[in-house]
């Protein structure tokens, strides 16, 4: 086998090792590559900036699991930090079973900083039924009668003026799959006119673009990059920015291997 052929079939363990090193080093020693902010991210930022802390309550839907958390949890944290910074109250809900546990960590962090559960935020927990549950909750947001801490919603002031999903000033879905942003669009945005934005896993971004272009999604955080962009807008440092360097190096390594493979392919064809 000549070297052109060898370059076309590099052992996968070599690729894995180089990628592992390339991803690990920037996580330990961040490079700080500058980041431009997308319009889709700015749109979410502007929506939250325009809300009124005195009256508006935002609904956050935590629809992801630990599997997708590295890509999307930093977005959830960045959005909550912005809401907290502006003093806007929020209600959490989940249509994924693991969702409440994802929001639990965020709430614990807020409580250690002096914010109060029940006053500044609440979490209604998981509602089973996937897209049907989203439809039902959209039409009757009091269908969940107790929150994750066992308090009846009649005793939660944040739910006083909430009857349907339209009563929330804004709805933000943190969405890793199905049910996710598209179920909200079908069940709440189109039939009820709910104002909706989403944080979406990177792999789903191309599929979500038509909904942003049509205005059904008013804003969108695009995976980990979206989180990093949002952190730069709010000025609250988080995990997103730190992990973007690793993503950059990862992408470079993959492109380099693709280039090597193609170079070797053309060389072998010439011979």
């Amino acid at each position: 086998m000549n070297w052109a052929n060898k370059l076309q079939s590099i052992d996968r363990r070599i690729i894995y090792t180089i990628l592992l090193i390339g991803l690990t080093i920037p996580l330990i020693w961040p490079i700080g590559i500058p980041l431009a902010v997308n319009d889709t991210t700015r749109a979410v930022y502007k929506i939250i900036e325009d809300l009124d802390p005195a009256t508006d309550v935002v609904l956050l839907s935590f629809d992801y699991s630990p599997a997708s958390a590295p890509d999307i949890h930093p977005s959830a944290v960045a959005i909550v930090e912005h809401l907290t910074k502006r003093g806007i109250k929020w209600v959490g809900v989940s249509f994924w079973p693991e969702g409440p546990q994802m929001s639990e960590g965020i709430m614990r962090n807020l409580e250690t900083r002096g914010l109060k559960y029940g006053v500044d935020f609440i979490d209604l927990g998981f509602m089973a039924g996937a897209e049907n549950a989203i439809a039902e909750f959209a039409q009757n947001s009091r269908v969940i009668t107790t929150d994750v801490r066992g308090t009846h919603i009649d005793n939660l002031p944040l739910m006083n003026n909430i009857t349907t999903m339209k009563d929330f000033a804004f709805v933000i879905g943190i969405s890793a799959g199905d049910p996710g942003y598209n179920a909200f669009i079908r069940q709440a945005v189109d039939p009820m006119g709910v104002k909706f934005a989403a944080a979406i896993v990177t792999v789903s971004v191309p599929a979500a673009m038509p909904f942003y272009a049509s205005g059904q999604l008013r804003g969108m955080l695009q995976g980990l990059r979206g989180a990093a962009e949002y952190e730069s807008l709010t000025g609250v440092a988080g995990r997103g920015a730190a992990m973007m360097d690793a993503q950059s190096i990862g992408h470079l390594i993959i492109v380099a291997f693709i280039a090597v493979g193609n170079f070797a392919y053309f060389l072998s064809k010439k011979k």
Binding site: L19, A67, G105, A128, A130, E136, H251, N262, Y265
Partner: protein, 218 residues
């Protein structure tokens, strides 16, 4: 009647769901709109049925893997791990739901979730990055015009999406945004609209009893 009654139920429920979002007035005799029937009666039912399906699937999974363990079939140890972890997490979550204000219970569930479930799930997802790196190196070859277009688009999107792309060439991010906003959006719209029309046609076939696969049997 074993076929006619399910077909009739399907037709009636389908019609109510179909007219729910597109009509506003009341149905004369019932004095309720289609939308009200959906939100008051059908929506809670569908939620319960969907939730019930998850329970049914869990029991089925336990039965299947329980039998693998009992018969010591090849790979039974993996089935045993599945059964034990399913039961453990189910019991732990039930206790967590029953005692939501007990700080020890909440902390215990938090610990097992954060230290077992989260790292394992995260690791599974992270392994994909390595697989994709290896697969794209092997698959992305400019063997034809179509493959070359795909290759160039992939490289632009990859470099444009990562901050390092702008350092290499200023135009990578704007080219990536254009690819996502114009050709990708057009393609995605075609897929969405095509799938919606296909879904609607299939729904009509089910509604009128032409498609009966969901009834089971022959």
């Amino acid at each position: 009647m074993r076929r006619e009654i399910p077909l009739l139920i399907t037709f009636l429920v389908g019609i109510i769901f179909l007219f729910g979002p597109i009509t506003t007035g009341n149905i004369p005799v019932l004095e309720m709109s289609f939308r009200q029937i959906v939100s008051t009666y059908l929506s809670p039912w569908t939620t319960i049925i969907t939730a019930f399906a998850i329970g049914l699937a869990s029991i089925n999974l336990l039965r299947l893997h329980g039998s693998y363990v009992a018969r010591k079939r090849s790979g039974w140890i993996n089935s045993a791990a599945l059964v034990i972890s399913m039961l453990f997490f189910t019991v732990a979550r039930i206790i967590r739901e029953l005692r939501p204000t007990d700080p020890e219970v909440v902390a215990f569930y938090g610990r097992i979730f954060d230290n077992i479930a989260a790292p394992l799930s995260g690791a599974m997802f992270a392994i994909l990055a390595f697989y994709i790196a290896s697969a794209s190196y092997r698959a992305f070859r400019a063997r034809s015009l179509e493959a070359s277009v795909l290759l160039v688009a992939a490289i632009i999107v990859m470099l444009g999406a990562a901050p390092v792309g702008a350092l290499i060439w200023d135009y990578f991010p704007s080219l990536q945004r254009w690819l996502l906003a114009v050709p990708n959006t057009a393609g995605q719209r075609a897929i969405i609209i095509g799938a919606a029309i296909g879904g609607f046609a299939t729904s009509l076939r089910i509604l009128f009893g032409l498609e009966r696969g969901y009834l089971g049997g022959d």
